[in-house]
């Protein structure tokens, strides 16, 4: 029993070691709700999780918000992630967390790209004569372009990338804690691939 206990001890201590080290790492896995891959950055006072969204899922979501089929198809042709940004500091040791998505860079095929943020999409909707109700739904479905979080504050929202389905990229992100700038890269993020159903041979 003593030997089992020691093994158990080692396992738990390893888990604790990994957990404590994860403050500097990106965790990947399958999101328990979406059942799709996620990438999560955990740093002091911050957690950022981005979860793949399937093109069909995005298409259906915006059809449900009243977008036409052609506009929904257009939206779904882009790379979308569900994004959860959280200030993990506590009221006993509070810190202010800020970000601005326009400062983030997508590194794809040796080129830098910017995320598509609310103002970019607004221009697109004006060109496509999208109705006001749909523009409102789209705008508020996106992660805010700029945000300031105090302890325990967070948002869920979609972040959008001008990349093809299945593209692998690095995301260079910047955030501020109490006004101090921090920067890191989340490597090897992958946009969801489109699912093409083919006839099943019997």
């Amino acid at each position: 029993m003593a030997r089992n206990f020691t093994r158990y001890n080692a396992l738990i201590l390893s888990a604790i070691f990994l957990a404590s080290n994860s403050s500097a790492k990106v965790i990947t896995g399958i999101d328990e709700q979406a059942q799709l891959p996620y990438w999560e950055l955990i740093k002091p006072n911050l957690s950022l999780r981005i979860v793949q969204r399937l093109p069909d899922q995005t298409r259906a979501y915006f059809l449900g918000r009243g977008f036409s089929k052609s506009d929904s198809d257009f939206i779904a042709s882009h790379c979308f992630f569900q994004t959860i940004f959280r200030n993990t500091s506590t009221s006993t040791e509070p810190h202010k967390l800020e970000y601005d998505l326009t400062q983030w860079q997508i590194k794809y095929q040796k080129k830098n790209h910017s995320l598509l943020v609310r103002k970019n999409w607004l221009k697109i909707w004006e060109q496509r004569n999208v109705q006001s109700a749909q523009k409102i739904a789209f705008e508020w479905s996106l992660l805010p372009t700029k945000q300031e979080y105090l302890p325990e504050d967070y948002n869920w929202g979609m972040s959008t990338y001008p990349l093809p389905h299945g593209a692998k990229f690095d995301l260079d992100i910047i955030w501020y804690i109490d006004g101090k700038k921090y920067q890191t890269i989340i490597p090897d993020i992958q946009c969801a691939k489109d699912i093409e159903l083919s006839p099943v041979e019997e």
């Binding site: 957990a19 109700a133 508020w140 105090l150 325990e152 504050d153 948002n155 869920w156």
Partner: protein, 171 residues
């Protein structure tokens, strides 16, 4: 063995503290300089008009939300439980829906039954008059009509700490 067990428990507690603090989310942030809350007039889904200035002298909880917003849905049950504790204590709770119509919201309430008013900001003019960029965001307006507290994201609204903070605004 007891020594090992106590060590495990200690480490587990250390690991779990952040999780627990996130799950509870019972912090309201004081709004700096307490600006006056922008007045608005909106219909609720029962076509009753609500004018913010009519509630002067009461504490008003203004929650901006949408049916398609997952964290907004998470907090509705705790908002209802809080409302049951607060409704007879000089407090008003207004959930301001962004961009959706009465039919959509009414259908949604079959799964999320609440008894506080669900207002409709169909053209998003009201939310844009407030310093709000993401959903859900909640402001607590004090009886003099000023923004006293703010929360971005879900809160456990019936947490005693939050209830106390809201009721203290009446004093």
């Amino acid at each position: 063995m007891c020594r090992y067990l106590s060590r495990y428990l200690f480490f587990l507690c250390v690991l779990l503290i952040p999780c627990v603090s996130i799950a509870q989310s019972a912090t309201l942030h004081p709004v700096k300089e307490k600006p006056a809350a922008v007045n608005f007039e909106l219909l609720d889904i029962d076509e009753i008009q609500h004018k913010l200035s009519d509630y002067r002298g009461k504490v008003v909880i203004i929650n901006f939300w949408a049916t398609w917003c997952p964290p907004c849905r998470f907090e509705l049950p705790s908002m209802e439980r809080a409302w049951q504790q607060l409704k007879d204590k000089n407090v008003v709770m207004l959930a301001v829906n962004i961009g959706e119509d009465a039919d959509t919201i009414f259908t949604f309430t079959a799964d999320y039954s609440v008894t506080f008013p669900l207002l409709m900001d169909k053209n998003s003019k009201v939310i844009k008059s407030y310093p709000v960029v993401g959903l859900p965001t909640t402001y607590i307006v004090d009886p003099t009509g000023h923004l006293a507290y703010k929360a971005i994201g879900t809160r456990e609204w019936d947490d005693p700490k939050i209830i106390r903070t809201i009721l203290d605004l009446n004093q």
